[in-house]
Symmetry: C2
Amino acid sequence: MRETTLRDVAELAGVSPRTVSNVVNGYAKVTDATREKVERAIAQLGYRPNVLARNLANGRSGQIVVVVPYLDTPYFAELLQAIIPAAREAGYNVLVDQTDGDPAHESSLVGRGARGLLFDGMIFSPLGLSQDDLSVRDPALPLVVLGERTSDGTFDHVGIDDVAASTEAVGHLIEIGRRRIAAIGDQPYPTGEAAQLRTRGFRAAHAAAGLPVDESLIIGTARFNRIDGATAMAALLDRADPPDAVFCYSDLVASGAIHTLLAHGLRVPEDVAIIGYDDIEDGRYGRPTISTISPDKGAIARIAVERLVLRMGSSTPVPGVELRAAHRLIPRQSTIGF
Amino acid sequence: MRETTLRDVAELAGVSPRTVSNVVNGYAKVTDATREKVERAIAQLGYRPNVLARNLANGRSGQIVVVVPYLDTPYFAELLQAIIPAAREAGYNVLVDQTDGDPAHESSLVGRGARGLLFDGMIFSPLGLSQDDLSVRDPALPLVVLGERTSDGTFDHVGIDDVAASTEAVGHLIEIGRRRIAAIGDQPYPTGEAAQLRTRGFRAAHAAAGLPVDESLIIGTARFNRIDGATAMAALLDRADPPDAVFCYSDLVASGAIHTLLAHGLRVPEDVAIIGYDDIEDGRYGRPTISTISPDKGAIARIAVERLVLRMGSSTPVPGVELRAAHRLIPRQSTIGF
DNA sequence: ATAGTCCTTTGCAGCGCTGCAATCGCATCT
DNA sequence: AGATGCGATTGCAGCGCTGCAAAGGACTAT
């Protein structure tokens, strides 16, 4: 049994298919009488537009793809959670893809031949991809990049001011009287741009307060996971001169660090104050709750979708811009106590 | 500038469009000579098939949608992480949707008129949806349901044997000598089927060991999050007779419970043993690592996709079946120590 | 040499919808 | 009455691809 088509509806309603199309799309001027007739026919036949055909006819798919490194990282999951409704509101469906941070996979996605025309645009949050890889992409694909990149002028970039945010975070630790402050999460290599910006903020805050930086307190980690935080914190505690505060490059790292501290019988924040980054939901409910830098995820999602829609709608190239979403410092129990 | 089409390639290669199509799709018999000619033309023009047109022509979109209640729940994120590659291997793209557990949203998705023909099938992990809601859905939509439901015969259901798994989990606690065992996560109302199965296993394990069940040790929670576990555990510790072990209905709940225990200066598992459910990544790296029931997520994903593909490919109704993926008990530090 | 066989290649038509521009019908104006 | 204007409706053609069945070509068998 065939699905009912526009033509079927038109026949029943006694109008042309084109008019039915107009009704369905709310186009143009249609008399109330005609509209009603058509709508009755639609209801009677249970007509549902064939999205595929519509897409082909007007050359767009109405879908955008959001590419993240890991779906199971709370930050990305929460971001996605914000992007999906924003995109839907703009009339787009969201396809999700994950790359596992694999550079090959990441560049195959932005590169030519991707997946044909299944999506009209892409919101991409690269991880293992360096700046160069982004430049060899298909220039026709509307692209908005999230995170710590800089636009080469052919795509938009949305992020928060990481250096400023990190400076605030560390400044907060200094303000509450801490003097031996560690940093967990540095990644001093090409694909570690995000981490490096945070390290820069770490230094800036020290400089602003006239404090020296103990380089040995900057601990590198391969990723920003709980286990990384837990391990790094354990290493810090093994030292003769453990820190009295730690700036963690993600809330997951902070969570791992806190875990280690509690397991060692230390108190947070009394013995060691901890501040994280990302403001994931877990951090709001743990014990202690985690002080953090909260990027405005709703704004990031909204801005990203808005820009992407703009790009997709334009027939001429849109110059790439740098866009900043707001962030704020949220002091919680892990720095200011109960 | 138009994208190059099949016709352009055909012209350049000096063959018919149909032959180019055959080459692109690896169809039928094509001479090596012809194939090579065509492939050269494709490369020269940078031709990419228009997926939209292909979809329209053969009446399928090549996409399936996976609907989960929350994207930011690790269990769902990990499941999705398994489903996406499995679907891709079968030639399908994955659309992701989340319902926030909202019954209205959930039923609008499975109901008629959903999103037209944008997806060929759906893998659905309902939460707030009761059995009845599932039955009023569009019968033409191939559907595979995950979790703790039972099929009404028009769709497939994939899950693990929750009662057996829960029985094993609690049996393990009994085996290591615990006698006052609590359960955190019960949901004694219509949409709490998953929870109820676990409670049933909890009772079964007690019965098998000839132990009485202390009803007051069965704690209900609204969701399966960390905060729920933390709160419930705190309540248990306030009692005059706290438990010596807890069966948590998810690893997140377990994680929250452990957090509370450590914060109270108690030791896990020495003072209180904890076992979770889901085997999420966090549980493998925390401290202590969390003993858990590990559903074979890879198998769930594979089976779900396989069945869905079968349904989508069949023109006649496929009877719905109940499918079970394997699970296993993984004892870790939170029950057997370091 | 002719018929028969088998494999490769082709042409046609159409998936269901929409952009475009033409057309129709009606009311208003001179 | 005829001309003019304007909004509502329509027809055409085509988006780019594939299913189908038939045509073509090369080769073998008689």
